[in-house]
């Protein structure tokens, strides 16, 4: 287990959106987890399960509805202006779409230098320049790229610029929201290798959100599985894949295509029937009960709590007590 200090602590976090007619869309409902220093926590789940909302609420980009998020012991949602400012210098984000998340009117240099200027990290112009060039080098771009406009770059290069921008303030915590899903396969591997290297070199803590389960497994130490606003399972990466306990995790993993024809043929697939229900009117009891083949009467009525079944392996399912 991880003995390092807790970096981010999330307790019973809820985030509801107004869905009109006095209805609430429960995007994140009673989610708890911790992230230790230097660790990567991956969150997986299908679209609409609340993984992005959860991440955004955790770093204070969205106000919470209930619960508590603490970063290094401080409540993220009730910081003073000064605390909030310091927080943004420590916590940074990498976005999904490198085409939408970079200002097309700015030069690459200014995009990267913005954080350095705001947080006054450089003593003078020369130091700022040195820092920007170092950052470019770190993400595999070179000095001549600095004075170019964003539109001159490919998707993979843009994502590198986005990473350089995030690293500019020398953050301790990185929230990556689907950083590779807009990229081609060969480019995805470059970005993942880069992120893993940077994490090792700088001892970064990461919250990594993606729907590509193979990539999440590759980069994460622990993985949380979300379904319809709930965290249904949380375990070390290898353990989750070897021994999924929640029926949803099991089905999700078995549905991921494997790039190996023989392994793919021999594997037992669990087909889920039906679709994910609406988060505006989720099923009472276990959220997965409508699609679960092991469903019992209890599942329909009582929502299972996330419990530690084995050391470090949490699951929210009535099958496991």
């Amino acid at each position: 287990m991880n003995n390092r200090p807790i970096e981010l602590e999330v307790t019973n976090l809820c985030k509801y959106f107004d869905a009109g007619k006095k209805r609430k869309l429960k995007a994140v409902d009673d989610v708890s987890f911790v992230i230790h220093k230097g660790e990567t926590l991956g969150i997986v789940g299908e679209s609409g399960c609340g993984k992005t909302t959860c991440g955004k609420t955790c770093i204070g980009m969205l106000p919470k509805t209930a619960g508590m998020v603490k970063y290094k012991g401080k409540d993220v949602h009730s910081m003073s202006k000064k605390e909030r400012f310091d927080f943004t210098g420590k916590v940074q984000m990498i976005f999904q779409d490198p085409y939408a998340s970079l200002d097309p009117h700015q030069k690459v240099y200014d995009i990267i230098a913005e954080g350095i200027r705001i947080h006054k990290l450089a003593k003078n112009q020369a130091e700022e320049e040195r820092m920007v060039l170092e950052l470019l080098d770190m993400v595999g771009l070179n000095a001549e790229h600095a004075m170019r406009n964003v539109h001159e770059f490919s998707g993979g290069q843009r994502q590198r610029i986005g990473i350089a921008r995030a690293l500019a303030v020398d953050p301790e915590f990185l929230f990556c929201d689907e950083p590779i899903s807009a990229l081609d396969v060969s480019i995805q591997a470059q970005i993942i290798n880069l992120l893993m290297k940077l994490q090792k070199d700088r001892d970064l803590t990461m919250l990594f959100i993606a729907h590509d389960l193979s990539m999440v497994k590759h980069i994460s130490d622990r993985i949380g599985v979300m379904y319809l606003g709930n965290m249904v399972e949380l375990a070390p990466a290898a353990e989750l894949y070897k021994k999924p306990l929640h029926p949803y995790t099991e089905a999700l993993l078995s549905a991921v295509p494997i790039a190996d024809p023989r392994a793919s043929r021999e594997r037992r697939k669990i087909m889920l029937t039906g679709d994910v229900p609406s988060p505006v009117n989720p099923p009472a009891g276990c959220r997965f009960s409508g699609r679960c083949k092991y469903v019992t009467e209890q599942c329909m009525k009582v929502r299972p709590e996330l419990k530690e079944i084995e050391p470090g392996h949490f699951v929210a399912c009535h099958l496991h007590k």
């Binding site: 081609d184 396969v185 591997a189 729907h211 193979s214 991921v256 295509p257 790039a259 889920l272």
Partner: protein, 343 residues
């Protein structure tokens, strides 16, 4: 012997833009067998979608299929079709399904009308309106839509992504075409829904026996679905062959790198992923030699100068790479090639 459905020879497609001639597809040849699934694999911009559009006669200005190209479909040359012939060909003999079902279906038209429309267009008068409706219900049942009667009266926005994709497949298959082109059919779907749709496509192929051309960049989907694989790079076919040959015995450095750039869910391995450095070449000025040369870690002098010939490795496995020339020095190449080891 071989039961060939489509035979493409020397297909070249260019787009004439203000910046110059973009050579999207540069002289490719391949065939698709009846009742089999052929996967076209490659990065964005490699020409896989353009190839499928050419098969459907959907290349529009400024695009042009160049002289000397040939596409034989069931023995007929489709590139000589008149517009009327194309009309009867599309949808009846060859159908297409797309990535985004919400964009591809008409939002103002009920599902029942959309499915029936394809059949009505190709109806020679032998089917009555009632029979067409009956056929639409049968198709919806076949693609696994619960309560097909009610579904006919719905609009696309009332259905989920997976259900819409099923409707699109039903629409494509109602005329019982002999070829189905699926352009990234599951990319927009979640994995559990993707698994359902892929299973459905396999099932339909077993029942109806159509050939499938599957365009995708997801190698997992390819491993699961394809009988034959065609790997494209910069408008050319770099390697093609049977599914297992391509996965277990790749002979082209691009194929090899693609196969090793995705982490495996079923294996425990935290090693660095194989990456392909650099970017795809500019197709207005394609490189003189092999297009992959600038990104290839094993490139030799010859690669920059001459386009590699297609080498037939037997059993339908072909590759276009100089490493397979007996004179090539292949020490340090991590996969099997036809070259010689010079110590």
């Amino acid at each position: 012997m071989k039961n060939t459905l489509v035979d493409v020879k020397n297909l070249s497609v260019s787009y004439f833009t203000y910046a110059g001639e973009v050579q999207s597809v540069r002289g490719i040849s391949f065939s698709v067998e009846n009742g089999k699934t052929t996967a076209l694999v490659g990065e964005s911009g490699c020409g896989k979608s353009v190839t499928s559009k050419a098969l459907m006669g959907l290349i529009e200005k400024p695009g042009k299929i160049k002289e000397g190209s040939s596409i034989q479909f069931g023995g007929r040359e489709v590139l000589n079709f008149t517009e009327a012939e194309w009309q009867s060909f599309r949808g009846q003999e060859c159908s297409m399904i797309f990535q985004d079902a919400l964009v591809s279906l008409n939002p103002t038209m009920k599902i029942g009308r959309q499915i029936a429309e394809n059949l009505e267009n190709h109806n020679d008068g032998s089917l009555s309106a009632g029979q067409i409706r009956q056929r639409a219900i049968e198709m919806l049942e076949l693609v696994g839509i619960p309560d097909p009667d009610a579904c006919l009266e719905k609009y696309p926005h009332e259905l989920s992504g997976g259900m819409r994709q099923r409707v699109m497949i039903a629409t494509a298959m109602i005329t019982n075409p002999s070829l189905l082109i699926a352009d990234e059919p599951t990319t927009a779907l979640d994995v559990t829904i993707q698994a359902q749709i892929l299973e459905l496509m396999k099932d339909l192929q077993k029942k109806l026996g159509m050939g499938i051309i599957m365009i995708t960049h997801d190698l997992g989907v390819v491993a699961d679905m394809a009988d034959n694989i065609i790997v494209m790079y910069a408008g050319k076919i770099v390697e093609s062959g049977k599914n297992e040959d391509i996965f277990y015995d790749p002979r082209h450095p691009y194929t090899w790198a693609l196969m090793n750039s995705v982490p495996r869910l079923d294996l425990d391995n935290k090693e660095e992923l194989v990456t392909i450095e650099g970017t795809i070449p500019d197709m207005i000025h394609p490189p003189k030699g092999c297009a992959f040369c600038s990104r290839c870690p094993y490139a030799m002098n010859v690669c920059a100068e001459l386009i590699p010939e297609v080498t037939d490795l037997g059993d339908g496995h072909t590759v276009a790479c100089w490493l397979n020339d007996p004179r090539a020095d292949i020490s340090g190449v991590p996969f099997r090639t036809g070259g010689a080891h010079h110590e």
